[in-house]
Symmetry: C2
Subunit: 385 residues, 2 copies
C-alpha cells in the first residue's frame, strides 16, 4: 500500500488521519461540539445525523466559534462547493448530505459554488465547453438534495464573477504568491489562473458578515486556513470548517472513490442492475480466500468496502450494524451477503435520489436555486461595485 | 541624470530608445510603414499626423502584418487602455489622440480598457472606492476624444469581467508563472491578483478574429509580446503594436510626465491661468543662465520642454517649427517667448478639449460608448458562455 497523499486536487493511498489532522492544522471534533450539534438536532426534531454519530465528519477548524455564535443568536451561514466532474458518485454525496442536515439545523443561508473556472484551469486537456456539459449534469444533482429553496444560492463562478469581483480583488490583493505557493505547491509551470484561483474559492466566505461554516472534505481545508490570515482585517469573521474523512473507493480501502474510472464507481445515474453488477464485481471485500477459511476465521470489516459504507452512511441502527459486524467477523455472514445488504441500500437510496432528480428537472428547481429564489435574487441584485 | 527605467508601472530617468527597442523586442517604424500610413491618410483626406511625421510614434511590433491585412481588405481592430488615475495630464493624451487618427484611418472598431482591477491590485493603499472615483473622471476624459460612437467600446474590467471571463481563462491557462515573472519581475511578495492581471490586459486582443493593432506607450509592450506565444494556437492572429516615446515631464527632460505631483503637471482640468502659471514656474528650460549668455550662445532645444512639446504635438507647420528652433538656438528667441508659445497652444487645446468634455457630459456620450452604441451593445450581448 502506498502512503496517503492528500491535496485539494488529489487524494490517494492509505490515509493516516492523525497525521492529516496535524498537517492540515485542524482538530478533531470534540465530544462537547458533537454533543451540542446532536442535542440541537434532537431539539429541532431532526435525526441525530449518522455522519456525526459514526464519525465520518471527524475534524474541524473553529467549530466552537460557530457554536458560540449560534448560542448567542448571531448570524451563521454555510458554504460548500462542487468542482464539476460530470458524473457524481456515492462519495460525492457526503458533503451535500451533511450540508443539508446543517442547513436544517441552523435554518440558515447556504452558498454552493461551482468552480467551473478551477476545473478548466487545472485540467490540461479540458475545454470550457466540456466543463459546461459536466456542470449542467452536476448542477441538477446538487439541486436534488432538498436544500431550502429560499435560502440557498447555487452559482457557477464564470457566471457570477462580475458580482463577486470586488470581493475577489480584496482577497487576491491580500494573498501573496509565496503564501499560495507554500499552501498549494505551485511551480514555475503553474499557469497564472491556477495561482489566482484560491482567491475565487475563498471569496464566498465573505458573502455575509456573519459566521461562515464550511462542510467539506479535509483536502479543501487549506483554502480556508489561508482565509484566516486576513478575514478580520477585511472586517469579517474567520471562517470555520467541519471536515469529512474519505470513504473508500469501491475497489479498495485506499483513497476516495474516484470517478476517473466510472465503470468502477457507483454513479448517481446508474440503474439498479448496474449497481448490483458493479458491487458484486468490484466491491473490495474483507472476506477470506475460501468459504472454509471465512467460516473459520471470519471477515475483516475494517477493509470491507460494503461494510464501511453501511457503517458510515446507510445503516442508521446501531444494534443492526453491530450485529452485522459481529456476524461478518465471526464468519457466519459471507461477503456475498454483505454485498447484498449494500446493494439493497444503495439502490433504495439511488432510486429515491433519481426520482427527486426527475422532479427537480420537471419543476425547474435549479432555476430557483440559481436565479429566482429569495437568496439567489438578492445575490444577483448585488452589484459588482 | 539617472539611467532610464521603463516597466509597465514606472518610467523614470533618461531613456535610451535604441536600448529600449532591443530590450522590448520591437523595431523602429520603417520608412515604408510610415509612408503607407501617411499616404493612406492623405487619400482619406485626413491630416498626415504630426505624431508620425515627427516620430513621436517611433516603434512597432508586426505593424507590417496589419498593413498587409489592410491592403488585402482583411479585418483590423484597435485596442488601447487607460489605468484610471483621476487626473489626466497632457502626456496621457498621446495614445488617445493617435488612436483617434488610426480609427479614422482604418474606419474600424476600437476597444478601450479601463483596468480598474489592475490599479487596485498594484497600489498598496488604494481602496476600490477611490479607484471608482478616479475611473469616473478619466472615463469622461477618454469619451471626449471624438471616437466613432458606433464603433467604440469603452469598458471597465470590473464591470465587463463576466462577459470576457471565458477568454480570460483561455489566456490565463496558457500563461505560466515563469513567463509572467520573467516579463514583469514578480516576487514572492507579489499578490496573486497581480500575477493573474496580465491575462486581463491580453484578453481584449482576442475580442475579434481580425488583426489587433495596439497604440500605446512602449512600456506596455511586454503584455503584447506574451500574447504572441499562444495567439495562433488559440485560433487568433498575433497582435501588433505601434508605440510612442515618452514626452518629457514639465519639470525636466527625463521620464514621462507624472501625475503623482499634479501641481507640476499640466492637467486636462486646469484653467488657462493655472496652465500659464505652471509653465512659467515649472517648465524646464533649455535657455542659458543669463540673458547675456542666451543672446550670445543660444538655447538648447533638445532639453527645452516647451520646445519639445511644440515640436511633437502642437506646431504642425514644418516651416514654423524650424524657424522657432533656429531663433531659439541662435539666441534671438528667449525662454519666456518659447514658454509663451507653449502656453498659447496648450490653452487653445485644453479649452477646446474642456468644451468637448462638457458637451460629452451633457449628451451622456459616455453611456453610448459604454453601453448603448452599436459595438457596445454587441459586446454586452455576448454572453460569457
Amino acid at each position: 500500500m502506498t502512503e496517503g497523499k492528500v491535496t485539494p486536487w488529489d487524494v490517494s493511498g492509505t490515509i493516516d488521519y492523525n497525521k492529516l489532522i496535524r498537517e492540515f492544522g485542524v482538530e478533531y471534533i470534540s465530544a462537547e461540539q458533537k454533543q451540542y450539534l446532536l442535542e440541537l438536532a434532537k431539539a429541532k426534531g431532526l435525526q441525530e445525523h449518522i455522519f456525526l454519530r459514526r464519525g465520518l465528519f471527524f475534524a474541524q477548524m473553529d467549530l466552537s466559534e460557530v457554536i458560540s455564535a449560534h448560542k448567542a443568536g448571531q448570524s451563521i451561514f454555510l458554504y460548500t462547493g462542487r468542482a464539476p466532474g460530470g458524473s457524481m458518485h456515492l462519495g460525492h454525496l457526503i458533503p451535500f448530505l451533511f450540508t443539508k442536515f446543517l442547513q436544517d439545523l441552523f435554518d440558515c443561508n447556504l452558498y454552493i459554488q461551482f468552480p467551473d473556472d478551477e476545473k478548466f484551469l487545472f485540467k490540461k486537456d479540458l475545454t470550457q465547453s466540456k466543463v459546461d456539459d459536466m456542470c449542467q449534469s452536476d448542477l441538477l444533482d446538487v439541486a436534488s438534495f432538498g436544500f431550502n429553496i429560499e435560502k440557498t444560492f447555487i452559482f457557477r463562478n464564470s457566471e457570477f464573477i462580475a458580482h463577486m469581483y470586488p470581493l475577489v480583488l480584496e482577497v487576491s490583493k491580500r494573498l501573496t504568491f509565496s503564501q499560495a505557493r507554500n499552501t498549494f505547491g505551485f511551480t514555475n509551470d503553474s499557469n497564472v489562473g491556477m495561482i489566482h484561483y484560491p482567491a475565487l474559492q475563498i471569496t464566498p466566505t465573505f458573502f455575509e458578515r456573519g459566521f461562515c461554516l464550511i462542510p467539506c472534505g479535509i483536502d479543501q481545508n487549506p483554502y480556508f486556513l489561508l482565509q484566516r490570515d486576513f478575514a478580520v482585517k477585511m472586517g469579517f469573521h474567520k471562517n470555520a470548517t467541519i471536515l469529512n474523512k474519505f470513504l473508500p473507493s469501491l475497489t479498495g480501502p485506499a483513497g476516495k472513490m474516484s470517478a476517473s474510472d466510472p465503470s468502477k464507481a457507483l454513479l448517481l445515474s446508474d440503474d439498479a442492475a448496474t449497481i448490483k453488477k458493479k458491487i458484486n464485481k468490484y466491491a473490495y471485500s474483507g472476506g477470506r480466500e475460501t468459504l472454509e477459511e471465512h467460516r473459520k476465521f471470519g471477515g475483516n470489516t475494517e477493509i470491507d468496502v460494503s461494510f464501511q459504507w453501511l457503517y458510515y452512511l446507510f445503516e442508521e441502527d446501531d444494534m443492526v450494524i453491530e450485529q452485522i459486524k459481529k456476524n461478518y467477523e465471526s464468519g457466519s455472514m459471507l461477503s456475498g451477503e454483505m454485498k447484498a445488504l449494500f446493494i439493497d441500500k444503495v439502490n433504495a437510496f439511488f432510486s429515491d435520489f433519481q426520482a427527486r432528480r426527475v422532479q427537480c428537472r420537471e419543476t425547474n428547481l435549479l432555476r430557483t436555486y440559481m436565479y429566482e429564489g429569495t437568496l439567489a435574487k438578492a445575490m444577483w441584485e448585488r452589484t459588482g461595485h
